[in-house]
């Protein structure tokens, strides 16, 4: 059996240059059938460029992408039938009715005339919009438009669904229902690739995650694997007032042999998990010395810790960099 057939997506030595700017450098990874695969990383890091190449919107400078065994440059028409895509922004024609929105895309996906109406009705039903089928989409609520957008993206019944930041900007309720929808589709056998800004979303939703930065894959694996990559133990964090910090540092060094360092505006150290029982002892020792700390915590590494470790900065700090890289891309490439 051909190795490419056991995977839904195989990316080999993929690279993309915009002039002198290397947006993607020799990326390799595979996405399995039926998994939810998360891509983390700020836009300028090459995430969007990679997605656009998978979608066939950009031609790779080097390397290849196989989608269900089809080369996405040579067999682009076939590949485009396999992939469904929903952007971060809701894209529906607000002047057109829900039905016309779907009809147009059914035709663009070359669904035979005789099946168009049936597919459209099915999609309307899926989106729970049958009773609003002949109403202009512009009059819909945000959630209804989003649902229309989702069924529109899947009108050709793709095997792979790519979601670019599907929950960005959604309220908590809509976000949860989007998560449930993604899980349901995945349960029905759809391979899902999503990008997200929310590390906790990647953590709870994705079977596997790739972290991309500066055009390369920094790490890939399940959330557990990634966290273990960062540290085998737990993370101890102590928030203390500035004048007490020195005392805390000294006490933990001398009594417990723990070397705390400044990180994220607090004192942090990675400790072995078998020291978990020491948490109470540390608290007692601090109390005995009369040192008042604001907070003390012990937790497993989070995706945020993984991100900090792998990219050298926290996710949110990347916002500025993201902007500057975006400009670079647009200057060269578009």
């Amino acid at each position: 059996m051909n190795s490419s057939n056991s995977y839904s997506v195989v990316i080999k030595k993929l690279s993309k240059k915009f002039g002198d700017f290397e947006a993607v450098k020799d990326i390799n990874f595979e996405i399995k059938h039926g998994e939810i695969f998360g891509i983390l990383g700020p836009n300028g890091a090459g995430k969007t460029t990679t997605l656009n190449m998978i979608l066939g919107l950009l031609k790779p400078t080097g390397g290849s992408i196989l989608i269900e065994g089809n080369d996405n440059v040579e067999e682009s028409e076939k590949v485009k039938q396999i992939i469904g895509f929903m952007t971060q922004e809701t894209v529906v024609d607000s002047y057109l009715t829900a039905r016309d929105n779907l009809r147009i895309f059914a035709r663009l996906y070359h669904i035979p005339e005789s099946q168009v109406e049936q597919k459209v009705n099915h999609a309307l039903e899926e989106a729970n919009l049958l009773s609003f089928a002949d109403v202009a989409a512009g009059t819909f609520s945000g959630g209804m438009q989003r649902r229309l957008n989702l069924v529109k993206s899947m009108i050709q019944e793709p095997k792979i669904l790519i979601l670019d930041e599907p929950t960005t900007g959604l309220d908590v309720q809509s976000r949860v229902s989007m998560w449930n929808e993604i899980k349901r589709l995945n349960h029905e056998g759809m391979t899902i690739i999503l990008t997200t800004q929310y590390l906790e979303e990647a953590d709870s939703l994705c079977d596997r995650i790739a972290i991309i930065d500066h055009g390369t894959v920094k790490a890939i694996g399940t959330a557990q694997e990634l966290k273990r990559m960062v540290s085998k133990g737990n993370i101890l964090g102590i928030n203390a007032s500035e004048k007490d910090e020195e005392k805390v540092l000294k006490l933990l060094k001398s009594k417990f042999g723990i070397a705390l360092v400044h990180n994220n505006n607090r004192l942090e150290a990675t400790i072995d998990s078998d020291m978990l029982g020491n948490m109470a002892k540390i608290a007692q020792a601090l109390d005995r010395e009369g040192i008042n700390v604001e907070a003390i915590s012990m937790h497993l590494p989070t995706m945020d810790d993984v991100f900090i470790k792998l990219t050298g900065s926290s996710f949110r700090d990347k916002a500025g960099e993201q902007q500057s890289s975006m400009n670079k891309v647009s200057k060269y490439g578009r």
């Binding site: 024609d93 147009i104 663009l108």
Partner: protein, 367 residues
């Protein structure tokens, strides 16, 4: 075949959007023509006492009668009875707006050539627009079957456009083409920018269709919509008192002329829209292409009266030929074969050029 089908899907989508805004689109397209025709089209409608000069070489009772009849209405006022050379001098100085020369043979034609010559100053279009029909009417009473009057503009021997009817009729041709050109650049091209901003272009490009299908679909819809705007402007012009001298059959010439201009500007608009990111910049660029092209076509006054510096631009402006063609049909009621060839050649070349650049220079910008 596949591409054509895909482009029809895009066309249908564009037309559905157009239809959903039908009232707004129509009102917007009629607003500007309405204002222009009402405000400018009535210039000269209440002109009276237009100064003219008469050079009477016939000196017979009929010629005296003719001169009297010229002054019978309040429209004309004969300020000088003189010889032809002095009359032309007066015309050039602006003392008179027209000169009527009555040849000795009057009221008979001499071997088929006219016995009355009328010279007018192109710069005095508003007044001559009123004066010349009056003169014509008076002279034609002596007509015995053959045209007995020759109307010539002074200085440049231009065609007689805009002289045998009011300025309003003259203006309508220009206004029709304005509706077409503006409709095309502010319809198709803008829609590409909006579609890109809303992410529609990206969502089209991830479907199996070719980008050329998008261009073709937009080209079709842009052409159909702006042709419709042109026809609406023509209808409005007729409603406001204009007429087609050739009659209803004139549409056979007018509509294709409109169609080719619509096609050309739609092509230009699509190319620009694919390359310009914001509507603000697009508006500036589009205006600076359409406005000069429109003015140079002689939409407001005859291109022949432009200063020499602008003349060459007018010659290379495809709208000049479309305007000329429509005026032949609407004003003169006669579309000479030579004009058909040049006018249609010009607009067809222009349309092909527009289509060519829309495909050749289209930029696949998605963000």
């Amino acid at each position: 075949m596949g591409m054509l089908k895909d482009s029809l899907t895009i066309f249908d989508r564009e037309m559905l959007i157009f239809k959903s805004n039908l009232r707004t689109n129509i009102v917007r397209s009629l607003m500007f023509p309405l204002i222009i025709i009402i405000f400018f089209g009535n210039i000269g409608s209440s002109v009276s006492g237009v100064p003219i000069a008469v050079a009477n070489y016939a000196n017979n009772p009929q010629s005296t009668q003719l001169i009297n009849s010229l002054e019978s209405g309040s429209t004309l006022s004969i300020v000088a009875q003189t010889d032809q050379a002095t009359g032309l001098d007066l015309l050039r100085q602006g003392t008179v707006s027209a000169l009527v020369v009555i040849l000795p043979s009057f009221p008979k034609e001499q071997q088929g050539s006219p016995s009355v010559y009328v010279y007018y100053a192109t710069s005095q279009f508003a007044e001559s627009g009123v004066a010349i029909p009056t003169i014509e009417n008076a002279v034609q009473k002596y007509n015995n079957g053959i045209s007995n009057i020759q109307i010539t503009s002074d200085v440049n021997a231009v065609s007689t456009q805009g002289t045998n009817s009011s300025y309003r009729d003259f203006l309508i041709a220009g206004v029709i083409l304005m509706s077409v050109a503006f409709g095309a650049v502010f319809g198709g091209g803008m829609s590409i920018i909006i579609d890109r901003q809303l992410g529609n272009i990206k969502s089209f490009l991830i479907t199996p269709i070719n980008k050329n299908a998008i261009i073709l679909g937009k080209l079709f819809s842009g052409t159909v919509q702006s042709t419709l705007y042109g026809i609406l402007a023509l209808g409005l012009g007729i409603l406001l008192g204009g007429s087609i001298s050739m009659g209803i059959s004139g549409l056979v010439w007018i509509i294709p002329l409109i169609l080719f201009v619509a096609m050309a500007f739609s092509g230009i608009a699509i190319m620009l829209g694919s390359r310009i990111k914001t509507i603000e910049v697009y508006t500036i660029v589009a205006q600076s292409i359409v406005m000069p092209a429109w003015f140079l076509s002689g939409a407001f006054y005859p291109a022949s009266s432009f200063p020499p510096l602008l003349q060459p631009f007018s010659v290379f402006d495809p709208l000049t030929y479309a305007t000329e063609g429509i005026r032949d049909v609407m004003l003169n009621g006669f579309f000479p074969f030579g004009h058909i060839v040049t006018d249609f050649s010009a607009v067809i070349i222009f349309a092909l050029l527009g289509i060519f650049i829309s495909f050749k220079l289209f930029k696949n910008t998605i963000a």
